[in-house]
């Protein structure tokens, strides 16, 4: 206990006082009803129970943000009365313990609002079958048997009629990255289930970060290019490129370690069309850039660094491939490939020097500012250029990420504390698999780019493989266009989240089966034939871990009984597997009664995971405390302790270990890409240059013809008050954050738009209605709508909620990046109505927002 707390405690009268008398007990006395305690309610002002009158259970949040924070449930009977978070005591330390080495993992606003989601009116309690038209939202309650029999029969029919590539696996991370109950695009519970069944099309491109995944694999040979977040505290210059940790909470304590860096003198820069809260909190120099022009600005910086000889030539010579002539492989020179430096200086095939002046024309940042930033970055050591995911969610987004990796490499800021090679940013690797993992983990019969399914359905069979990004197969089925007949959504709200929703709506009517498994009704569930109620993470046994940054495990016991008739995903798949004849293969530890009773089996899986994966691989004697499974369960959290922050590629740089690329070097020039003879026969579908280049996106402010009709570039970043679509139904969050379009004050004035006006944002693909937030904090020509709001269509197909994916184009970048931020639109005042939520809750921000001139 800190001195402060001791002081607080000693200065307080510790006897029972008026407050408690007048609330928890007082109401009963006043009403003359002494002696009859009322049952606990989830949202009750009274009766009030203090934390110490309630049962305490350590658990965690479970939404797909990349972080994972502790939630402590305080419950009475079977009702969670409130949630608190890490206070240091659960790891066995004194209350308040919170050090730089072992910080508390405190939940964010979303985590803290979890009860409102758990007990929401949108909570699914019973299996349901569609009775109206698809999308009409009319369902009837049925028994589990009826629902599952319906699905099993349809699955058999589809498989017999259309073969093994006709059901699309659209599982996603709605209940992500727990050890046992995992919904995941590639290797989750659904993937294994459909794989064993023998009918699965997998969706291979990841909506959030495919550009950077491609870039990091290509450049470094590994997506684990991230430092642990405590490393951020040691940087001297932090360039947040399109990165807003104040919104994404990416990593357990990233934002806090950056505060420590600021206190230690670190300078911050933000390259972003918006002056974000991150810029404000870290007092950053704001460089407002035109969207989708990041690769050009980075090329301009590279030019400045090269011509002023500020590059770390020793680092380049030792570790990179194709940065300049000297590091180019002989075979590549012989075949006439250009190196990166030649491309930048204009000695390559296009003959254009990528000078800061050239870049300024493209990206809208002055040449002086480009030079200033390049100089700062090249001369400050260590400096972190954090190339975040958002600018990569664009046409040719992979070029931005590859270009950033090149600039990170040329300044030698890789593999050193305080530097940065991110990128993907994945750092510490937990043992994430406690579910059965075998040869069926990822069986698939075709794989497509994830937002191409609707295009495939609508044009089948006249579809070219390159249009849908068909993954290569080593057998005669290579290149066969799948006849998609069904979609399965597990922990996934993809119908609301993939690009060009109007095209999805046209395609979904052609399917034979749509299944949705979720804990709450979602916009996707509305389009399902069968809706299955899934137990939340409060209602089943598991272990949580962060997948991005942070090094700890959090135990998640079953806190309360599943609400209604909900079952876990694993129970549902196991039951279906028994019905389809492969139950024991799917869930080897279970018996047929697993659907009724899962506790012993789940415990056995988790215990095995602890003793077979964690203890031998991670609890290394001398370095870590070894604890038993029962002890871990008792504490609720295990935090690993490291003497030094984990830094990506430290082994490679300090000890000469080869990078896991084919050349063993940082491949600015990609061996793999240079050796692809025909891109249309690959998953990429079209050409990707072996070195990073600026490639003009199909829609941006520089597209002179297109901007005449649609003069604004719309970007769609991740909101703070939702995790994608999760938590959109929590009115306590919507009360303080509005789904709105952010626009520059000058732009708004020209259109006569003021903050609070209802406007329509539209292009040829769709139209959405939102209130406007007019601000000086946004670059002119740019408008912003946060992704993930639950669509709410009027009779003309206009989205009243403001889901920007009615405006996006379903054409992914060659490397698979979703073009979520490549949208031209127009904006105008409207008489159409905006609806902030399905519950019609009115929200107002006038009382929370004000302008200070």
């Amino acid at each position: 206990m800190s001195d402060t707390l001791k002081l607080l405690k000693s200065s307080l009268n510790m006897t029972r006082r008026g407050f408690l008398k007048t609330t928890a007990v007082g109401t009963a006395v006043a009403g003359g009803l002494v002696g009859k305690p009322r049952d606990a309610e989830a949202f009750a002002y009274e009766p009030y129970y203090t934390d110490d009158q309630l049962e305490t259970v350590v658990t965690s949040c479970a939404h797909n943000c990349g972080s994972r924070h502790m939630l402590v449930a305080h419950k009475k009977g079977d009702v969670i009365v409130r949630l608190s978070t890490d206070d240091g005591t659960h790891e066995g330390a004194a209350y308040g313990t919170d050090t730089e080495q072992v910080p508390q993992v405190r939940g964010c606003l979303r985590g803290r609002s979890y009860r409102a989601r758990l007990y929401s009116p949108e909570r699914l309690l019973y299996p349901m079958l569609r009775v109206g038209a698809r999308g009409e939202g009319k369902f009837k309650r049925v028994s589990w048997d009826e629902a599952l029999s319906f699905i099993a029969e349809k699955m058999m029919y589809i498989k017999n009629m259309y073969g093994p590539a006709s059901i699309v696996d659209q599982s996603y991370a709605g209940a992500s990255w727990s050890v046992l109950h995992k919904s995941d695009q590639i290797e989750g519970l659904l993937g294994r289930f459909l794989g064993i069944f023998g009918n699965r099309i997998t969706s291979w491109s990841v909506p959030s970060y495919q550009a950077t995944t491609f870039s990091s694999r290509t450049t470094f040979g590994d997506i684990k290019d991230g430092n642990e977040d405590d490393a951020y505290a040691h940087t001297k210059l932090m360039i947040m490129w399109g990165w807003n940790p104040a919104y994404t909470f990416h990593g357990g304590n990233t934002f806090y370690y950056m505060r420590l860096a600021k206190q230690r003198g670190c300078k911050f820069v933000l390259v972003d069309p918006q002056y974000t809260d991150s810029a404000a909190a870290y007092d950053a120099w704001w460089v407002p850039i035109k969207p989708n022009t990041d690769a050009a600005m980075l090329a301009g910086m590279a030019h400045y660094i090269f011509v002023n000889n500020l590059q770390d030539q020793d680092f380049i010579n030792r570790f990179t491939l194709g940065m300049d002539f000297g590091t180019m492989p002989n075979w590549a020179i012989a075949r006439g490939f250009e190196n990166f430096k030649d491309y930048i200086l204009g000695n390559g095939y296009d003959g254009t020097p990528k000078t800061p002046e050239w870049a300024a024309e493209v990206c809208g940042v002055s040449a002086d500012d480009i030079k200033k930033l390049a100089h700062m970055y090249a001369t400050t050591k260590p400096a972190a250029l954090k190339a975040s995911w958002a600018p990569g969610r664009a046409a040719f987004g992979e070029q931005y990420n590859r270009m950033a990796a090149a600039v990170q490499s040329m300044t030698g800021n890789i593999g050193m504390l305080g530097g940065c090679a991110e990128g993907v940013g994945k750092a510490w690797s937990g043992e994430g698999v406690g579910y059965p993992y075998d040869k069926y983990a990822n069986v698939w019969f075709q794989a497509i780019k994830s937002d191409c399914w609707a295009h495939c359905v609508l044009n089948y069979p006249n579809v070219k493989r390159e249009e849908i990004g068909l993954w290569e197969r080593p057998d005669p089925t290579d290149g066969q266009i799948p006849n998609i007949r069904a979609i399965w959504w597990q922990g996934s709200d993809w119908f609301n989240q993939l690009t060009n929703i109007n095209k999805e709506i046209a395609a979904v009517h052609k399917l034979d089966l749509t299944v949705c498994m979720d804990s709450t009704i979602t916009p996707t569930a509305i389009w399902a034939d069968v809706v299955l109620p899934i137990a939340t993470h409060f209602e089943r046994h598991d272990v949580a871990l962060p997948w991005y940054k942070g090094h700890y495990y959090i135990h998640r016991p079953k806190v309360i009984e599943p609400l209604g008739e909900s079952k876990t995903d694993f129970q549902v798949f196991t039951r279906l597997a028994y019905m389809l004849g492969f139950g024991p293969i799917y869930n080897p530890k279970a018996s047929p009664d697993y659907f009724e009773s899962n506790e012993n089996v789940d415990e056995a899986y988790l215990r095995d995971w602890w003793y077979n994966r964690v203890v031998p691989n991670q609890l290394i004697p001398q370095e870590q405390e070894i604890i038993e499974w029962e002890e871990f369960k008792r504490r609720g959290i295990y935090k690993f302790k490291y003497d030094h922050p984990h830094v990506a590629f430290e082994e490679e740089i300090k000890h000469g270990k080869p990078f896991p690329t084919s050349s063993g070097r940082i491949e600015i020039f990609s061996t793999e890409l240079a050796n692809i003879p025909d891109f249309t026969k690959t998953k990429y579908g079209s050409y990707i240059p072996p070195i990073p280049k600026w490639i003009e996106p199909w829609e941006y402010l520089g597209a002179k013809e297109k901007v005449k009709e649609h003069p604004f570039h719309l970007i769609t970043p991740h909101p703070r008050w939702r995790t994608h679509t999760i938590f959109n139904n929590v009115p306590q969050l919507r009360e303080v954050y509005e789904q709105e379009v952010t626009m520059n004050a000058d732009d708004a004035a020209k259109l006569g738009i003021k903050t609070g006006d209802t406007v329509e944002v539209y292009n040829n693909r769709g139209k959405v209605v939102v209130p406007a937030y007019v601000t000086e904090r946004c670059r002119p020509g740019v408008v912003v709508i946060h992704e993930g709001v639950w669509m709410d269509l009027d009779e003309n197909g206009v989205d009243r909620a403001g889901n920007p994916d009615f405006l996006t184009l379903d054409e992914p970048s060659p490397a698979g990046a979703f073009a979520y931020n490549t949208i031209l639109v127009n904006v105008g005042k409207t008489d159409l109505v905006h609806r902030p939520g399905w519950d019609k809750l009115a929200t107002a921000r006038s009382h929370v927002f004000r302008r200070d001139t």
Binding site: M1, S2, D3, T4, L5, L7, L8, S11, L12, N13, R17, T22, T23, T27, A30, F43, A44, Y45, E46, T50, D51, R82, L83, S84, T85, D87, G96, G107, C108, L109, R110, G111, R112, S113, A116, A246, F249, N253, F255, Y256, R259, Q263, Y275, D277, A279, A281, W286, R720, P731, E735, V736, E776, R777, L841, H847, V848, F849, R850, D852, T853
Partner: protein, 223 residues
Amino acid sequence: METQQKDTAKIKEAIKRRKRVVYQPVVPDMQLGFVHHNVDCIGCRACEMACKDKNGLPPGPRFRRVQYVEGGTYPDVYAYKVNMSCNHCAQPACLPTCPTGAIWKHKENGVVDIDSTLCIGCRRCEAACPFGAPQFDPSDGLVKKCNLCIDELEAGRKPYCVAACMMRVLDVGPIDQIREGKFESKAIGPHDTTVRAIKNLANPNLTNPSIAFVPHSKAKVDI
């Protein structure tokens, strides 16, 4: 004439009879107060949500309010946050307005509290408070507000908002110590000093609120 004299006498008598009762503020043994870092706060509102959850509040009443302030002209802009709940003032404006005596100030720590069994929901305190702390809840017709999680203080823990703060920019402690720079807290950085007043906030001389800020450069005022 006679009537007039009679009235005058009557009035004088009435004035004598009416002993003006002046409210004597409770002087606490130790006054607790908040400290908030306006700049380093990312405005995430985890504190707000933790507070709502702890108190079982529906949308509507907000005991804690993170306010966003922004200014400047593109591209030279600035933004900061002001995070307030009840300031547990030394001379609370709400307290004397309460017709039922439902509001009182704790002697031992200066927490201003409402006894909800006495509250009639007249909302006079809401009107009186210059900081917007008392919150009317239409679902049960009561005015409610932050009581500094006095149950948590009793248990030797910090209030939910403070314990929730992901950036560690919000803290609670003896306000005198905070003001004198003697209070050790992560909310106050190594080179930071605190102030009583910031721009656009009600004059602290009105009620002497128990709150200190590490101010944004654009929010500094002379009081």
